[in-house]
Symmetry: C2
Subunit: 235 residues, 2 copies
């Protein structure tokens, strides 16, 4: 039997294509999330519209990646590391799609807020927003470089995200308590804060997937958790 370099190359190309699509999808998530944070902090409704309108790009990537994965499994029957690559791509794309959805939801809530928020509140949102942007960048780097160390670092830093989310939640509660007129905007802000924390959780999922992809073993122990109450419903 002769070697079939063309087919082999094409298989590798397919795997590379899948991986590239995930990285581009991740780049779109980075843009969506950083714009969503800018929009809520500056009450910028036009920027919020951008985030909302561009979410279909992220959704389409998920559908396309799923199709690529199914084709790869059906036609190439990948084994071992390649099988992990394909299954990981499916799971990662699902988490990244949720990151896009949550950014879109922040943007939608931004559009319902019609007045300037107190500085302490927007600064608090910005602080946790910046940390989560870093986490998103790092987890995409961990995937690009197939680095379990960067992945583990992201996973461990989620505790800091929880702590900053908790501070932010306290600011929102203060805002809610200060005036019963603030109840509706404040309720939206509770969900905005929760969405940021949920994005953080999706990023730790991705970190776990990258770790498993490279090492074939699971990150051990319970995920570190900051002290929280309103955020997670835990003491």
């Amino acid at each position: 039997m002769t070697e079939k370099p063309h087919t082999v190359k094409s298989y590798e190309e397919q795997l590379q294509h899948l991986s590239n699509d995930l990285v581009i999808m991740g780049g779109n998530c980075e843009l969506a999330f950083s714009n969503a944070i800018k929009a809520i902090c500056k009450n910028d409704h036009a920027l919020a519209d951008d985030v909302i309108n561009n979410d279909t790009v992220i959704d389409n990537f998920e559908t396309q990646i799923e199709q690529e994965v199914v084709n790869l499994i059906a036609l190439r029957q990948p084994m071992a590391i390649d099988l992990r690559e394909t299954v990981t791509a499916l799971k990662m794309s699902s988490d990244l799609e949720r990151v896009g959805d949550l950014a879109k939801n922040i943007a939608k809530r931004t559009k319902l807020i019609k007045k300037k928020l107190p500085n302490e509140l927007t600064e608090s949102i910005e602080r946790v927003g910046l940390l989560v942007q870093k986490q998103l960048k790092s987890v995409l780097d961990s995937y690009t470089n197939r680095s379990p160390d960067i992945a583990q670092d992201v996973w461990e830093k989620d505790e800091q995200v929880d702590d900053l989310t908790n501070n932010c939640m306290e600011e929102v509660i203060k805002y809610l308590k200060s005036d019963s007129e603030n109840i509706e905007y404040g309720s939206h802000l509770l969900f905005v804060t929760k969405n940021i924390e949920r994005i953080g959780d999706h990023l730790t999922n991705v970190a776990e997937q990258v770790y498993f992809l490279v090492n074939g073993t699971y990150l051990e122990g319970d995920r570190p958790k900051g002290s929280q109450s309103i955020v997670t419903g835990e003491k």
Copy 2:
């Protein structure tokens, strides 16, 4: 070449086992969610503890199903409908695991509420809770019977879940506005209500997966959405 009935049977058995595991996992989610709703409405902390402690059973099912799927793909190289069965199982188990998590979160928040809530509020939670329990039962039936019609029905009824969640959210806002002492419990109740709505969304995901599994085509059109504001951040 001789037939290998043993291997063929064993492959079918593996697929059947996967399917059974999903159904049992779904049954555990039904119990967790109905107990979580009972616990919050009756302020029953012991029942809330049950829900919290039993969530590992649901988590373990997800891990086990993922392992079965990876083994099936690696060793059996499923094609066409069998490939859809395996990929669907992976996605369904991920949505069901989230249902379990959200029920657990409702239970955790229940434990932080130390007083009787107004009747209008608990009745409102119960109403949407019962509808979502029905949706959960139906979507599991649609999977067991491989019925795209039942799946489509669940998908369409999500609009009613949105409407009832919206009513419930209005009751919570009323509760929040009535007394600034209610802000913290009220914030937990906003998240409880949102969790119920999110469970509804996961069930429509499952409905879409079942539909695709049987028909090989996607449910068409935008998912019907009830009118909402605080719930989803939409006008």
